[in-house]
C-alpha cells in the first residue's frame, strides 16, 4: 500500500516540476506541491527532495538523454553516498517520466529558445484590380494582399500588410523554392 502511494507521489512530483519549469504553469508553488503530495513531510525535508528531483530532471533535460544515457546516469545516482543518493523508486519514477515526457519537454525547451519575432498568423486575399486611369480597362490584374502577424511571446503583435502583383509573387515563389531546396539538402542529412 505504502509503495503504491509513494510511487504516485514521486510521479506526481515530477509531473508538477515539469509543469512549473517547462510547461509554464506558474500557479503551482513549492508550498502547494508539498501540501498536495507530501503533507506529512517537514518543509526542509520537502525542499531537499524537491531540489534534488528538479536538479536531476534538469540534468536529464539539458542533455536530452536517450535510453542508455538515462540508465547509466540513474545507475550512477543510485550508487552515490549520502543525501545525494537516489532511491530505486525515485530512479524508476524518473525513468518512467522521461520516457513519456521527453518529446514534450524538448518541444517546450525549443519554444523557449525562440526569442526573435516569429510569424504568428497569416491571412490573405486576392483582388482583381479594377480599371484605373493609366490602363486599358479590359485588362484586370490580380493583386494578392497578405497580412502577416509578427510578434514575440509576451508582446503585442505587429500586422504587416503586403501587396503582390503577379511578377512580385513569382519572385517570392522563386525565393521560397530556393529555401526549400536548401532545407532538403541540409536537413535530411542532419
Amino acid at each position: 500500500m505504502a509503495d503504491v502511494e509513494e510511487t504516485k507521489s514521486q510521479s506526481g512530483l515530477l509531473n508538477r516540476i515539469a509543469q512549473m519549469v517547462y510547461y509554464n504553469k506558474s500557479e503551482i508553488t513549492e508550498e502547494l506541491l508539498k501540501d498536495e503530495l507530501y503533507p506529512e513531510m517537514s518543509r526542509e525535508e520537502f525542499k531537499a527532495l524537491y531540489d534534488k528531483m528538479k536538479g536531476l530532471l534538469k540534468s536529464i533535460a539539458i542533455a536530452d538523454m536517450d535510453h542508455s544515457q538515462l540508465e547509466a546516469f540513474l545507475t550512477a545516482q543510485t550508487k552515490k553516498q549520502g543525501s545525494g543518493r537516489v532511491s530505486a523508486e525515485q530512479a524508476a519514477a524518473l525513468s518512467r517520466f522521461w520516457k513519456s515526457q521527453r518529446v514534450r519537454v524538448r518541444e517546450s525547451l525549443l519554444a523557449q529558445s525562440r526569442w526573435e519575432t516569429t510569424l504568428k498568423g497569416l491571412s490573405w486575399r486576392v483582388d482583381l484590380q479594377a480599371a484605373d486611369n493609366l490602363r486599358n480597362s479590359d485588362h484586370s490584374d490580380p493583386v494578392a494582399l497578405m497580412e502577416l502577424e509578427l510578434g514575440r511571446d509576451g508582446q503585442d503583435s505587429e500586422f504587416l500588410c503586403l501587396e503582390f502583383d503577379e511578377a512580385r509573387m513569382n519572385q517570392m515563389l522563386k525565393k521560397m523554392a530556393d529555401i526549400q531546396e536548401s532545407i532538403d539538402r541540409v536537413v535530411h542529412h542532419a
Binding site: 490573405w124 486576392v126 509573387m169
Partner: protein, 133 residues
C-alpha cells in the same frame, strides 16, 4: 491613464476581443480596478469594439506595403543554456518594404520548418488563384 486606455483599446481592437475578454485582460493586469470602472469599460467596448476593429482592418489594408526585397537564411539552433543539443533548424526572413509614406523599412522574423512549409503552400495557393482569375 489616457495613454494606457488608448493602448488597451488599440490592442483589443486589433485582436478583436469581446467585452468579456477585454475585462479579463484588464483584471489580469491589475487588481486595482473598481467594479464601476470595469462596468463602464465593458459597456463601452460592447457598443464600440466591433467598429474599432473594423476601422483598424481598413487602416491596415490602406497601409499596404510593397515588398522591395527578401533575404533569407536557413539556420540551426545548436545549443542553449537549457538544452545542450537543440539541433533545431529554422528559416529567417528579412523583408525590405516600401511603406505608403515612401519610406523603406525592414522587418525580420523566424519560422520553424513546418511553419515555413505552410507559408510556402499558402503563397502557392495565392499564385494559383491569381493565375485563374
Amino acid at each position: 491613464m489616457i495613454r494606457f486606455l488608448i493602448l488597451t483599446f488599440r490592442t483589443a481592437g486589433k485582436k478583436n476581443l469581446s467585452a468579456d475578454e477585454l475585462v479579463s485582460k484588464l483584471e489580469e493586469g491589475s487588481n486595482k480596478w473598481c467594479k464601476a470602472s470595469i462596468q463602464v469599460l465593458c459597456t463601452l467596448w460592447s457598443e464600440h469594439g466591433a467598429s474599432v476593429h473594423a476601422q483598424q482592418k481598413v487602416h491596415s489594408m490602406l497601409s499596404t506595403c510593397q515588398l522591395v526585397d527578401v533575404q533569407w537564411k536557413l539556420a540551426m539552433a545548436v545549443s542553449s543554456d537549457t538544452c545542450r543539443s537543440l539541433n533545431s533548424p529554422y528559416v529567417s526572413l528579412l523583408l525590405k518594404v516600401l511603406e505608403p509614406s515612401g519610406q523603406i523599412s525592414q522587418r525580420s522574423f523566424e519560422m520553424t520548418i513546418p511553419q515555413f512549409q505552410n507559408f510556402h503552400k499558402q503563397l502557392k495557393e495565392m499564385a494559383a488563384i491569381m493565375e485563374t482569375v
